[in-house]
Symmetry: C2
Subunit: 268 residues, 2 copies
C-alpha cells in the first residue's frame, strides 16, 4: 500500500507540472488542496473507523469473556460493527471454531456403555438461528420485545446453525444422549420441535422447556436445576453448548462447556 | 480510498502518455504490468491479511471464552497478529475495559463492616506484566521455558499493568481486603513482593504463593483449595481478577470473576 501511495504521490507531482499552466492560479481548486484534502480526510476517516473497530471488538471480547454486567442492548456506536460481524465471515468462523473444538473433545471422550453420557444443547442461537428476526430489529440495538419475538418463534422458520448441526450429528453418532435445554416456554414445545426437525435436528432424548413455575427464574437458576435433575437421574453431563453464559454456569456444570458467540443479546 | 485509487489510476494513465517514449518498448518494466501488478497484488494481499486477521481474531475469541483445549503455543500463523495485539492499542483497551467493569461492580457492592469482603488478584499478566520477557520469546510462539522465565522473575523488573493498579487502588480504598493469589513459587516470595511494591502495589492482606506440596497440582485445583481456605476463614470472595480461566474456575468462585485478556499462554 505504501509503495502504491508513494508512486501515486510522485505521479501526481509529475502531473501537476504538466497541468500547471491550466490551474496554477485558480482559486476554485487550489493545487495543494487537491493533493492534500482527500489524503488528510481519508487518514482521519480510516483512523476513526479503526478506533471504532478496536473499541467494538474490545466490547465484544468483554461480552464473550463474561466480563460485563447484564446489558440490555448493544452500544449504539457498535451497531454497524455488530451487523458486519453477524452477517460477515467472522461470526461463522467463530461458530465453526467452537463447534470443531467441541467435536474434537467429544471424540476424545471414552463413553461408558450405560447410555448415561449426555451432551446438552441450548436452542436459540445454538441450534437455531434467529438472525432473520434480529436483522429486522437492529441486531441487538432494540430492547428485546417478547411479543414480537414470540410471533417469530411461532412461525417456526428459524434456520439451523450449520456448525451446530455438524456437532449434533457427531455427538449423536458417537453415542451421546442429546438433551435440548431451552429457555423457550412449554407452550412453544410443538412449534419448536417442528422447527428443529425441519432443519435437520431429527432426534433428541429430551427437549426441556420452561414450565409455568420456571418462568420467574433466571436462566442460570432454571438451567442449573434441570442439570441437577439430570445428575440425580444418573446422567453424566460431558458437554454443554450454549451461546449464553447462563447456559453454562451454575450448578452441575458439564465436564467441558462451549460458549458460542453472541454479541446481540444477554440473558442473565 | 476508492476515490484516491481512481484518481491515482487516471494520473498514472496520464503520466504513461508523457512517459511512453521512454518506456513503451521496454521489456524490463512493461507498462501494463506497472499499472496492473501492484493493484492486483494489493487486493490479494489485503484479502489474505484480512482473512488472517479474522482467523486469528476468531482464535483469540476461542481462547478468551475458554473454548480451546489446553494449548502450548500460539498458532504460528498468528505470531504477527498476537504481537500487534499485545503491543498495540487493542490489548490495553481490553485491559481497561475489564478493569472498569470490575471497578463499577466493586463500587456497587455494599461491604459488611466485619472486614471479611475480599478481592482476589492473580499476579502474572494481572498485576504485573511480563511483556518485556515475552517480547524476547515470540509473544507465546516459543514453548514456555521455566528456567528462562524464572530468571526473568528473579530480576524483579516486571512493570505494573496500569489498569489493574487503578482497580487495586479502587478496591482497597473501598475497604476490600486484597489477597494476591499467584502460581509463583514460595522461593520467589521476596522478589515478587519487592517487584509489586516497586511498581505501586504497596499493601496486601495476603500474598499466597505455591508451597512445595502445591507444585504438582494444576492451577485450578491449587487456587480452588486456597479459595476454599478463605471461605473456611469466614471471608466472602466478592471479586476475582485473573488472566487465566484457572484463576477463576473451580470451587469457591467469586461473586463476580473478571477475565483479563491473555492470548500468549494457557495455564490449565
Amino acid at each position: 500500500m505504501t509503495s502504491l501511495l508513494v508512486m501515486c504521490f510522485f505521479l501526481m507531482l509529475f502531473s501537476s507540472c504538466t497541468l500547471a499552466n491550466d490551474n496554477y492560479n485558480s482559486h476554485i481548486f487550489p493545487r495543494p488542496l487537491v493533493i492534500e484534502y482527500p489524503e488528510g480526510n481519508e487518514f482521519q476517516l480510516r483512523e476513526s473507523l479503526e478506533e471504532l473497530r478496536l473499541q467494538c471488538t474490545s466490547w465484544r471480547f468483554a461480552v464473550e469473556a463474561n466480563n460485563l454486567s447484564p446489558w440490555k442492548t448493544i452500544p449504539p456506536e457498535c451497531a454497524a460493527y455488530v451487523e458486519d460481524y453477524m452477517t460477515g465471515r467472522a461470526y461463522s468462523y467463530d461458530l465453526q471454531r467452537v463447534s470443531r473444538a467441541a467435536g474434537a473433545f467429544a471424540k476424545s471422550v471414552e463413553l461408558a456403555e450405560d447410555g448415561k453420557d449426555v451432551w446438552i444443547f441450548d436452542v436459540d442461537e445454538t441450534l437455531l438461528s434467529n438472525l432473520p428476526y434480529y436483522a429486522q430489529h437492529g441486531y441487538g440495538l432494540e430492547i428485546f420485545n417478547h411479543t414480537k419475538f414470540d410471533k417469530w418463534v411461532e412461525e417456526g422458520l428459524a434456520p439451523a446453525i450449520h456448525s451446530s448441526l455438524e456437532l449434533y450429528r457427531d455427538v449423536t453418532s458417537l453415542g451421546f444422549k442429546v438433551f435440548f435445554l431451552t429457555g423457550r416456554s412449554e407452550r412453544h414445545g410443538n412449534i419448536t420441535a417442528d422447527n428443529l426437525i425441519k432443519v435437520g435436528f431429527q432426534h433428541w432424548d429430551k427437549l426441556i422447556l420452561r414450565s409455568p413455575e420456571d418462568h420467574p427464574k433466571q436462566a442460570t437458576m432454571y438451567k442449573s436445576e434441570k442439570r441437577d435433575e439430570m445428575i440425580k437421574e444418573g446422567y453424566r453431563i460431558v458437554g454443554n453448548s450454549g451461546d449464553q453464559w447462563s447456559d453454562l454456569l451454575g450448578s452441575s456444570p458439564a465436564n467441558r462447556s462451549f460458549k458460542l458467540p453472541n454479541p446481540m443479546y444477554y440473558i442473565p
